[in-house]
């Protein structure tokens, strides 16, 4: 079972993923790579948002991407 510290760490990583997706393709990445990179992380968001270890973390930004 994840500890509170681990949950905070996972949420921090999740927020980075959300921020990166919302920022769009970086200049140093070609479109094909961005498509793979972003799709992998969007699929992960669809799964992790339902993880049973979350407590009261705000998932609004995640749902704006995956819904």
């Amino acid at each position: 079972m994840a500890t509170a510290e681990q949950i905070a760490h996972y949420y921090e990583g999740l927020c980075k993923v959300v921020d990166n997706i919302n920022a769009g393709k970086p200049d140093n990445m070609i479109q094909a790579s961005w498509d793979i990179h972003s799709s992998i992380n969007i699929e992960w968001l669809k799964t992790i948002v339902n993880a049973d270890f979350w407590t009261d973390e705000d998932m609004t930004a995640v749902h704006l991407i995956i819904d």
Binding site: V17, W44, T47
Partner: protein, 163 residues
């Protein structure tokens, strides 16, 4: 892996069963296998592998697999792209009893509490792009609490649970 109990305790060592002082690898009863020895002690770290953005999975597919064949249900393979492609994914399936116990992505952090609810088997996918990389859960086994693609490199560990 099968389990055999002695006076209510599971035999968890590699060679708990002896016959006339000789270590047994398997125990049969009327031709049916009851128990198989653990190939490793429980909680043994089997291997750690690291991947850099812009790299490939060649060593993982060949040498990691050939060094630790018991950990894999089959040989890892490129399921998209190839060694020389800018973007490539490599898929692998762990055998029962082996699990991803640790995953670190340079940008996104570390999943260090095991692979979620399950600690046996599962199919996973390594992604390597020009500037990003990571590990994703595909099916079976346990999920990952850190995303499958972030800047720079990543590493993961496979441990023997015996389950």
């Amino acid at each position: 892996m099968g389990s055999i109990y002695f006076n209510g305790s599971e035999l968890t060592g590699q060679h708990d069963v002896k016959f006339n002082g000789t270590d047994m690898d398997n125990v049969y009863l009327n031709g049916t296998k009851l128990w198989t020895r653990h190939p490793y002690a429980l909680d043994t770290l089997i291997f750690t592998v690291s991947f850099g953005a812009g790299g490939n999975c060649d060593s993982f597919i060949s040498s990691t697999y050939s060094t630790y064949p018991l950990a894999f249900a089959s040989q890892p393979f490129y399921n998209s792209g190839s060694s020389g492609s800018l973007d490539k994914t490599c898929r692998f399936t762990l055998n029962d009893g082996f699990y991803v116990s640790y995953y670190n992505q340079d940008e996104l952090g570390t999943d260090s509490d095991g692979a979620g609810a399950s600690n046996t088997g599962g199919t996973y996918q390594i992604y390597i792009g020009g500037t990003v990389s990571g590990l994703s859960h595909v099916s079976g086994g346990g999920g990952l609490s850190v995303a499958g693609s972030g800047n720079n490199g990543h590493s993961f560990k496979v441990t023997y649970s015996g389950q």
